[in-house]
Structure formats: C-alpha cells, structure tokens
C-alpha cells in the first residue's frame, strides 16, 4: 500500500470545502445548543490571546500593574466562560446522542479535551502567585503524591507548573480542539434521532 497515495485520497475525499467550511447546513441544525461549541471556541480564543499577552509581559506586570491586572481579569473571566460553555456543550451533545453514526471519536476527543482543560486551569490557578496558589499548592501535593504522579510532577516547583500552563498543556489542548473540529466537520452534524412511533402518521397519510 502506498501511504502517500492513501493519505491524499483520504484527505481529498473527507476534507473538501463542503465538509470543512460549508455554506449550507442540514435544516435540522436549528437550535441554540449548536452555538455552545462555537461559544466554547470563542472563549478559548480569548483565553489564549489574553494569556499570550500576560506571558509576554511577565508575572510582575500582570500582578502589579493596572493594565496587567485588566488582562489577568480578562483571562480569569474567559476561563469561567470557557468552562461554562464547554459544560453546556457537553450536556447538549449528550442529550443529542451526538456520538451516533460514526461520531464516537469526536466525543472521545471532546471528553479528553475537557480533562486536559481541567489540568490546564489548575496549573493556571497555581501560577497566580497569591494565597490561593500557595494554599492549593500545599494542599494538592498530597493528592498528586498519593496518586503516584509525584514521579513526574513536583507541584511545588513553579518552573514546571508554569511551563506546563503556558506551553505544554495549551499546545496539547489546541491540537485536540483542532482535531475535534476536523472530526466534527468531516462527519457533518449528527442527524436527529428517528421520529417516535406516534409521530409517524402525519396529516397527509
């Protein structure tokens, strides 16, 4: 088998413009629930933009200067928005059974993104550098140690925690979200469950 050929075939068949960026949607796509994914994505963009600015200027800037603390506040509230919309999105997709008809993997990537987001947010809280960080660092060390993660992560080492927060985990998350979106688009929006038996006989029958 020629890997190059099969890769090209796969990509050009599954990732056409009609799949990736359609200008039409099936008419059943008609609910606010469909917007939660986009709101989640928008909040994530805002988290990343504010985070990049904060990382560029450094901790003292966002802890002690006026503009810096505005950016820190934007970062704080965009995380709240991100988790709010992600939770709504998750619950919505659950009620729609969106893993049906070949979309299970989309669900899996989504759920793993949720898990990574929780760790990302936690390392963020520990990077705040205030009493909340201090207290949660000494508190959570027992949980990390007890679970056996101590071999990899020293939660009291701010160099490691900060690096995870601003580089490693965001890269993983961006990769996962990109994958999630391509998976969603290549399959198309999941069709509704079949109509119920008593709804089958329409007016005209």
């Amino acid at each position: 088998m020629n890997w190059t050929q099969s890769m090209r075939k796969n990509v050009s068949e599954k990732l056409t413009w009609d799949h990736l960026l359609p200008s039409e949607q099936p008419i059943y796509v008609s609910s606010l629930v469909y917007s939660f994914g986009v709101f989640t994505l928008s909040s994530l963009v805002l988290c990343i933009v504010s985070g990049v600015v904060m990382a560029a200027y450094g901790p003292t800037w966002y802890q002690y200067s006026g503009v810096g603390s505005l950016f820190r506040s934007v970062h704080f509230w965009s995380v709240q928005a991100f988790f709010f919309f992600m939770t709504m999105h998750l619950v919505g997709q659950f009620f729609m059974g969106s893993w049906r008809e070949g979309r299970a993997f989309t669900w899996v990537i989504g759920a793993v993104s949720f898990g990574i987001s929780v760790i990302e947010a936690f390392t963020g809280y520990l990077s705040r550098g205030d009493f909340f960080s201090q207290w949660n660092q000494v508190q959570s060390k027992d949980a990390f140690n007890g679970a056996g993660i101590d071999g990899f992560l020293n939660i009291l080492n701010n160099g490691q925690v900060y690096g995870l927060h601003i580089a490693v985990l965001p890269l993983v998350l961006i990769g996962l979200v990109g994958w999630h979106l391509v998976a969603v688009r290549s399959k198309g929006v999941v069709p509704p469950y079949q109509a119920r038996a008593n709804a089958k006989e329409g007016r005209r029958s």
Partner: protein, 383 residues
Amino acid sequence: MKRIRFSRDTLQFPQKDFDMVKEGVVSLGIITVLVVAVAAIWGAPYRPAVTNQQVALQNPIGIGQEVLGDLDGQGAIASYGPPYNNGWHGKAQSVQSFLGLSPQTWWGTPYHVNTAQADVLIPLQMLATASHNGALTAALHTYKTASYTQQQAWTTAMTNAMGKATVHNGQVVLPSGHYGPVALMVNDEINLAKSGLLSGALDRETNKGVYRWNVQNDLLFLQGQVLPGIANNINMAGGQWGINHDEQAYPGPWWLTPYTFLYQIPPWSTGATGDQTAAYSMGFLFLLLVLVPWIPGLNKLPKLLPVHRVIWRDWYQRLERTGACGQCPLRASCTQEFREQSQAHMGAAETVPSCYLPDESMAYNQNERHRSPGVSTLRTRTD
C-alpha cells in the same frame, strides 16, 4: 463477525443557507465584549501570598513551633515519606496505600527534604556565617555533636515550653528549662524570618543556581500549622470545599465540584488514603465519560429522554407537518436506529428515508436547498 452499520449522509438532507465564518466572528465578538466588560467591572481575585516574615511578626510562636517540628521530626513534612524523604528515622506518615498499591513510593525521593537540615540547620548556618555570630555557631556545633537522645530531650522540653510561651515586644518569652542550644537556635530563626531572609535561604536549597523557580521548601515550611489556620479562617480548608471556591463572591473552579464533593463524604473524607482513592475514583468517572458512546444503557439514555425532541423540535414538527414519516418506506423500522435496521432493507437499494428526499410540499423554508436528489442509497460501511 461483520456488522452492517448505516450512517446517514448529512449532505443528503434538505439544506439551508448557513454562514459559518460569520457565526464564528459574531460569536467571538459577543464573547469578547461580555468578558472584557465583566473583567473591567469586577476584576479578578487576588490575595497576596503569606510570607514567613509576616507570620514571624504576627505570630512568632507559630514560627517557633514549625522550627521545632522540623528539628525533632514531629512536623508533617519531617516524617512525610516519598517523594520528600523516607520518613523520620524510618517512620513515614503520609504514604497512601490502597489495596496494597502505593504508587507514591515508586519513584523514591526525587524531591528530597530533610527538614532538620533544610529548614533549620542550613539557614541558621548561613545566618551565623553572614553575621559573624559566634554564639549561634557554637550552639549549632553543640546541637550537631550531641547524641540523638540529648537532642530529643532539648527539643521535647522546648516544644512543651512553647505551648506556655508568651510574646513581649515581639520576643518569645519562655519559662525557664533545659533547652540546651535549642532556645538560641529557635530564637535566631524567628529573627531570621522577621528580617525576611528566611525565604531566600529556603528557596536557595531547591534551586541549584541563581534562578529561583522551585519554591518547594519555602512552601513546605508553613504548610503544617500556619497555612491551614489561615485557610480555615477564610473557609478554604479541604473540609470546607476548599479549592472549589475562590475569594469572597468570585466564582472558583466549580468544575472540580465532583472531585471536592468526595472530600465531604466518607470513605474519602475520613480514610487515610483519601487522596489516593479520590484520585482513582475521579479517574474512573472520567473514563466513564470518555467511553459513554460504548457503555450499554448510558449510550441509549438520550434516546429515551425527551430532551432531544426539544432541541430538534423544528425538525420533528416539520416531519409531522409534511407527513414525511407516514410515506416513508422505512417507517416499519423507523423507531429504531438506522444502524440497527434489518438486512432486508439493505437489499432494496432504492429505499431511502423520506426525510432525505425533499419534494415541494415538504419545503417550508425559502432558504432550503435540495442537493443531488439522484442519490438514493443509504451509505453503508462495515466495521
């Protein structure tokens, strides 16, 4: 065994105009305006970290007690166990083991802390050198060369006395007793903390050079008594849902609720291996979430619950209005999932759900488009 699965081609459903790029841009705009407005109005929580210096000035006895615990092995970190040490004289207190499984110990002691050395003897040695303090140098020498029994006798006497100590003009006043060199050592360390230099000495130990990233020993110094006391005053202790809430009225990391909930109820709240079992419980619940598509019962639940009928109400209303299901060649099996349809339907290549084939009477929206009506087979795939 090969199972035939159906998956419906979403492009075969009636379509309507949709501007994805516009949706994205508008959504980003709305979220940005909302978040920036909220951030400008309410800001974000920040409570300065507690320093050794502050504690030494307000509560010098607290510092004295931490120092003694570190010196005589009564402190929580002194006898913690992996990853910090192997306990105090072989006795480790904070090793969690569930069903004989103790992953905490698998890595040895990568973040080594001997509290007597790290928190007391080394910082005091630095202080003695820096200040040409002959009395302190002599006290340290006396302490280090004494027998373990003698050291313990001094520290035990001093620990008991600390319980009765008072503070006058910022100085700790002890009842008289046989404390050997320990009284001077503890007093000098309290003064070192008051000066603000103790943190620097502790940070120095966990960073091998000039740069200070690893604040392990500094954080561990206050973690036994002092920090929990402060956290308790502001309702942040573990049994008070600790990490779940932030300062005052600000929302905290509420998404950790399932996790912090475990810490409120037995066996997690009471067991000595609470952290370990809480971590495993959460790992298990997370695995359930990831695997929902394959978990029998759970993966059919949304079909049973009527919520999807509300989300797709326009679609179901349309099916009813147009009588699409009544004419559908698949109506016999329509209450089942497509993928579960019998082999019989497979054979009839022309059998197509009528919601696929929009005729004029079905169209109720001017924006609807019909796509390649010639396509008349269900997609099948095998796996």
